[in-house]
């Protein structure tokens, strides 16, 4: 059974069909990439999968269960975590606390026990802190644990978001353009990190513009154009796909 099944998903904004009848599957322990020219509907698709937006129609199955239309925090609890293209760092917290927010799904203390400062709350907190710290080490940000998250450069913000998403202990992580703003060296470190994430048993679905990275790490690629899926397959095949080349070329001509 695949981990994630997307069936005939549609998302419409007014007259615009941003995601049009898209279906694909993500298998366990895969690294799957979602690519396409600007405005192809990749982020919209992510939003529809993670409950940020409600899909207009279609179905999302996760681990065999229908999660279509569930709210964002429920999706996170089920085991899908994500990062954001325009990073959504909690600027009012330090780096470590940002990751500790990710522990939210894995902890339980309610407002009353927190108010009273029960020992169980303290225990949970310490545990969260230790776990968060080790995740920061995983992405290489442990030295900045106590700095203000607002001061991080763009590249490190993406890394912080990855650590934060991992803190939810997901089965599937959705990465939205994690390489944006990274230099070559950082990108290669990122690909190591992504491999390590998969090594820890977390399936990866990523949106990325850096074709080098995509072709290097993904097992499979899905290509979207104008909201429609135009190709799916291993990187080598995709690179030769006529329609894909057309889509990207078309865009380049437009840009020029």
């Amino acid at each position: 059974m695949p981990l994630l099944e997307v069936e005939n998903l549609r998302k419409q904004f007014g007259g615009l069909m941003a995601v049009d009848d898209v279906s694909f599957r993500v298998h366990r322990d895969q690294i799957k990439a979602l690519i396409g020219p600007n405005g192809a509907g990749k982020t919209t698709l992510f939003n529809a999968l993670t409950g940020v937006d409600k899909p207009t129609s279609g179905k999302v199955l996760f681990d065999g269960a229908d999660i279509t239309g569930k709210r964002a925090h429920e999706v996170a609890e089920i085991g899908i975590a994500r990062t954001f293209q325009n990073t959504q760092i909690f600027a009012n917290m330090n780096v470590l606390e940002n990751v500790m927010v990710g522990r939210h799904c894995q902890t339980k203390s309610g407002i009353f026990s927190c108010m009273l400062g029960l020992p169980s709350v303290r225990r949970e907190d310490l545990e969260s802190e230790e776990r968060a710290y080790s995740l920061l080490t995983l992405v290489g940000l442990e030295k900045k644990a106590k700095s203000s998250s607002d001061d991080l450069p763009v590249g490190e913000r993406h890394l912080l978001e990855i650590a934060r998403a991992l803190a939810t202990e997901p089965k599937l992580i959705l990465l939205d353009e994690p390489a944006a703003g990274l230099n070559n060296e950082e990108t290669s470190r990122l690909s190591d990190t992504i491999y390590r994430i998969r090594g820890n048993g977390v399936t990866v679905l990523l949106v990325e513009h850096d074709m080098g990275l995509v072709m290097e790490i993904s097992d499979e690629v899905v290509v979207l154009n104008f909201g429609k899926k135009i190709a799916e397959g291993p990187p080598l095949l995709i690179q030769q796909d006529e329609q894909v080349i057309q889509a990207y070329l078309g865009q380049e001509i437009e840009h020029a």
């Binding site: 993670t50 709210r71 964002a72 606390e97 939210h104 799904c105 927190c114 709350v121 969260s128 934060r164």
Partner: protein
């Protein structure tokens, strides 16, 4: 690393202890009814602003309507005691229940709104409540208000003078402060700050944003009701004029001036502004002119509030101190 965290926490409780002690010593130095009343008012404001800071500073949800909860607390107490002859304790319980319920009912639809729309909704709600205080004469006594609100008592000991009531208010204040600090550093506190930082990201981390927004709104509403209830016991008299839009705005001003997003900011803001407002009264007509000017200046020079300004200053000093050994050595060499 964990030991460092422990150290920080201990320091925090040290501050709480110092604060509680100071607040307990003051009445022994300034023992007259007037100072005691001002101290009670200060403590009540602090309790309300602590709640408001959790709501605004932590969760980022603006309320321009907290005078309504303040009033609901005061009126609930007053109505229960003067109309139904209940004890003042039951009055406080009633204030918490009524206030919590009202806060819950208004929070569900209102917290779907964002930014200034939320501010307007809470403001509108407070105006409606204020009008009800005036118009429901049968229950609220109309503009004449309600008087003869009794003070609470335990086993024959009545908190009926400002000195005695202050003991009760002091206890409530310290409890509220500790609870707020506990929340602030906990999982829930982080969730609230996450909601403020980015609602979408918070939700994607599994934070049920709607739930937490409602919880913190209800909590801050309840704290304001507790404050109102204590106020009714102090004044013995409740009238709609004490719970106007101006009061709501003053409370928000206290929260912002003290420093948002930090419980101590609330304590500092409420204390400073309460004292300043009272002190400036001796300037008669110029009183509010000066107050307005100070407010503008405070914001221009301390945009992060008093707490923010001082913690910035402390950080800078720390850097300086760390830098001193080297530069000092150079200076010696030069001279």
């Amino acid at each position: 690393m964990t030991s460092g965290r422990r150290g920080r926490l201990n320091k925090q409780w040290l501050w709480v202890g110092l604060y509680a002690l100071t607040m307990a010593i003051i009445p022994n130095v300034l023992a007259n009814n007037y100072y005691m009343k001002m101290l009670i008012v200060l403590a009540i404001n602090t309790i309300i602003v602590i709640g408001l800071n959790l709501l605004m500073g932590y969760a980022g949800q603006v309320s321009l309507g907290h005078a309504a909860f303040y009033g609901i607390g005061a009126y609930s107490s007053a109505i229960m005691t003067t109309k139904y002859g209940m004890s003042a304790w039951l009055g406080i319980v009633a204030a918490i229940l009524v206030g919590g319920l009202v806060a819950y009912l208004i929070a569900i639809p209102a917290l779907r709104l964002k930014g200034h729309y939320l501010a307007m909704a809470t403001l509108g709600f407070a105006e409606i409540v204020h009008i009800l205080f005036i118009e429901l004469r049968e229950i609220t006594g109309g503009t004449d208000g309600l008087y003869g609100v009794p003070a609470p008592s335990i086993a024959g000991f009545a908190f009926d003078t400002p000195q005695r009531l202050y003991v009760l208010v002091w206890m409530v204040l310290v409890i509220c402060l500790v609870m707020a600090l506990n929340i602030a550093k906990s999982r829930v506190g982080r969730a609230l700050r996450a909601v403020h930082g980015s609602e979408i990201a918070a939700a994607s981390m599994g934070v049920d944003t709607a739930k937490y927004k409602i919880q913190v709104f209800v909590l801050s509403g309840i704290l304001a009701c507790v404050g109102g209830s204590l106020y009714a016991s102090m004044a013995g008299y409740v009238s709609s004029e004490s719970f106007t839009l101006t009061v709501s705005i003053t409370l928000v001003t206290m929260a912002v001036c003290g420093g948002m997003g930090n419980v101590w900011g609330a304590v500092i803001g409420a204390s400073t502004l309460t004292i300043m407002q009272e002190y400036l009264k001796s300037y008669n007509d110029y009183n509010l002119v000066i107050f307005g000017a100070i407010l503008i200046l405070a914001m221009v020079f301390m945009p992060q509030g008093i707490y923010g300004a001082f913690s910035d200053l402390a950080k800078k000093l720390k850097h300086r101190l760390q830098a001193i050994p080297e530069t000092a050595g150079e200076q010696h060499a030069a001279s």
